[in-house]
Amino acid sequence: MLFVFFVVNKKMNNINRNYPEKPEAVYYFGTCLAGTFYPDAGMAGIKLLQREGVRVIFPPGQTCCGQPAYNAGYWREARGVAEKQIELFPKPLPVVVPSGSCAGMMRHHYPVLLADSPNIDRILNFSARVFELSEFLVHVLDIKLEDRGVPMKVTWHSSCHAMREMNVIEDSKSLIRQLKNVELVELENEHECCGFGGTFSVKHPRISEAMVRDKVAAVRKTGAPLLVAGDCGCMMNISGAIAHQKLPVESRHLAEFLWERTNG
């Protein structure tokens, strides 16, 4: 218990994270939002891993990490769903997740949510194996990207949990910077939340609206025709607001963007 408490309070910083050697195979947790709304983004993550010579295992029973209920205060419901996911990833393989937020949930919050579980050792073991996609591509696979696309400008949105829980933003950006024909224009107030926050966006729609409007204004200011993001939640929020305002800006998940640029 004390250990768990320490982990949560320190928000284990990835700067000190020990990355494993390149494994023969990895598990892939596709996330519920990619699964339902952005399947091509989810698939692109798998293809990037496979292209690096890693066998990808996708347990078909996977659904959602449980974060929506956990953050909304429905911990009982969240526990049932979280325990179910852990069961599906039993082998001692890395679990790669194309979302900083879901990865943060599985890595940092499962030990809190399930602190009283009799299987706490198994849970800690699972959490320690969770990696966000871009940190895995950079630190474990040492991926080298060859850009085959036409020159273009893009901007990048940092998800709060990728930034403050998983600490992987520099990894994500470094992947974009590997693309020689892509100019990355940074967002003003990049460190500020886009206003999604799961149920926050519908519990406090007016505050969320004020936040996403400012985010869209910042995207517009960059002049980039494409917004790249590493989290489907933020992307759904910002791109939904962009579409609502009928602006000519596309959005793409990082995995899909990288795959499109390098597989052309």
Binding site: G30, T36, P59, P60, V202
Partner: protein
């Protein structure tokens, strides 16, 4: 607890968001504070070490709180100060009133004190014929305009120069309209100087109460705090019972963190260390010093070791400055004395879930507050735990009133859990919705979602199907 009417947060938010001047003032001021904080803590490694030290000092103090409070009281009394304990704000107000009456006092000058705001002391004293004048410039402005603070460090941050110029012109007799900062300061100084000398009692807050020496540490930039605590014959200091720290050597770290986080300065213009009333032969200082130690729900928070972390707070206000919600709605919308992230965890615990629980839901859990908190309060974690307490009451005596969890909401989460524990069921449900194109109902949460966004469409081919088609291994 007195009034249990739930806070009408939505209405407050709507009002705040429609005030474009407020939005502009806040965006400007908060951006400024964030930059200044960053500049004063240039070395991230040093900053993290400082925050670790700050956390350790506050945790150590809280771990021994009852003992340290007794030691603090004993040393204060030995130093010639009077110590009073108040369980409720009403008791604290009565204590202040009794001290005033003992001295036939009718005029009070006040330094900035959030605890006195918590007590609604000015209103209480006014009802008893006592004038309590705010002397902190921001508080002075608000007292003139009949408002309450919207920020715990910079109370009038929601006002700009022109608005302040207008208040001075309207409310202070014979004052011409001016937007020049020096002239505005001059006007306030002229009014306040006179009041400092006329006052019977000076009241102040306390930033840190040092148990080891029985010392009140008070920081400020305007000199009004020193005037309030030295010029009038009686000084009353009000403090929350969590303000105590173990020893003087804990102060440097906390002061560096407090001033750096609060205003982005290295040190405040005045650092007052008050350990006794005027001693024989001394030429200034009050003849009496009273310390009023307020509980008002703090010991209830203290009882739970996880929620106890709320009491680590040193009231620097930097969580407000970095909060994307506070930056957009300002302090008044929160409806209680303490706004922003700290208010979201403090008010529901002090005021009760029924009254203030909605505040715990008003966060996207973006962690901007946790990232900057000088004493590392895990605000997002506590928010989640408050929400959990609100809905399910696990680990607590009874589920508290739930301001937002309608029966429909509870059922929705049960259904969500059922579907997400059984992927087959989930996929069938999604397939049905996907194949009919999922025409979004313009009701309920989707209506709220779509006030400013298009609704996402369920993809006709889900990831699970793509994976199967492409022959990705399933074990």
């Amino acid at each position: 607890m007195d009034d249990q009417t739930p806070l009408n947060f939505d209405e407050n938010v709507a009002r705040a968001l429609s005030d474009s001047q407020l939005r502009k003032n806040l965006a400007f001021a908060m951006g400024n504070f964030r930059q200044k904080r960053k500049a004063i803590f240039p070395d991230p490694i040093e900053l993290e070490a400082l925050r670790d030290a700050g956390n350790e000092i506050r945790r150590r103090a809280l771990a021994r709180l009852p003992e340290l409070l007794e030691r603090f009281e004993k040393n204060c009394v030995e130093n010639g100060m009077h110590v009073h304990w108040a369980e409720t704000t009403n008791e604290a107000n009565q204590t202040v009133l009794e001290i005033m009456r003992t001295h036939d006092a009718t005029r009070m000058v006040k330094g900035k004190s959030m605890v006195s705001e918590e007590m609604h002391l000015n209103r209480f004293l006014a009802e008893h014929g006592i004038e309590a004048l705010e002397t902190d410039l921001g508080e002075f402005i608000l007292q003139l305009s009949g408002e309450t603070p919207s920020h715990i460090i910079v109370p009038a941050i929601h006002k700009n120069k022109a608005e302040i110029a207008d208040i001075f012109h309207q409310k202070i007799p014979d004052t011409p309209y001016t937007e020049k900062v020096e002239e505005l300061n001059g006007i306030a100084r002229r009014v306040l100087r006179k009041k400092f000398h006329e006052a019977d009692v000076g009241l102040s807050g306390v930033n840190f109460a040092v148990a080891e020496t029985g010392t009140l540490c008070l920081v400020e930039n305007e000199g009004n705090g020193r005037m309030c605590t030295t010029v009038p014959p009686v000084h009353i200091a009000v403090m929350g019972l969590e303000k105590v720290i173990e020893k003087l050597s804990d102060l440097p770290v906390l002061l560096r963190l407090l001033t750096g986080s609060a205003t982005g300065s290295l040190i405040t213009t005045y650092v007052n260390m008050i350990s006794s009333p005027r001693k024989t032969g001394e030429k200034d200082g009050p003849r009496e010093v009273h310390v009023v130690i307020l509980d008002n729900g703090r010991s209830k928070i203290y009882a739970d070791p996880t929620f106890r972390q709320t009491l680590q707070c040193i009231r620097c206000g930097t969580c407000l400055n970095h909060c994307p919600v506070y930056t957009r709605i300002g302090g008044h919308a929160y409806g209680f004395v303490y706004p922003g992230p700290i208010g979201k965890i403090l008010n529901p615990q002090v005021q009760g879930m029924k009254k203030a629980g909605v505040l715990a839901t008003a966060s996207s859990l973006c962690l901007a507050c946790e990232e900057v908190c000088p004493v590392r309060i895990p605000i997002a974690d506590l928010l989640r735990r408050l929400r959990e307490r609100m809905h399910q009451g696990t680990g607590h005596a009874a589920p508290d009133f739930n301001p937002s969890g309608s029966i429909a909401e509870r059922l929705a989460w049960k259904l969500w859990a059922l579907l997400n524990r059984h992927s087959g069921l989930l996929h069938s449900a999604e397939k049905v919705m996907g194949s009919v194109g999922f025409i979004s109902p313009r009701v309920g949460i989707l209506r709220k979602w779509s006030i400013c966004r298009t609704t996402p469409t369920i993809s006709p081919r889900r990831l699970h199907e793509l994976v199967e088609q492409q022959g990705v291994d399933d074990e």
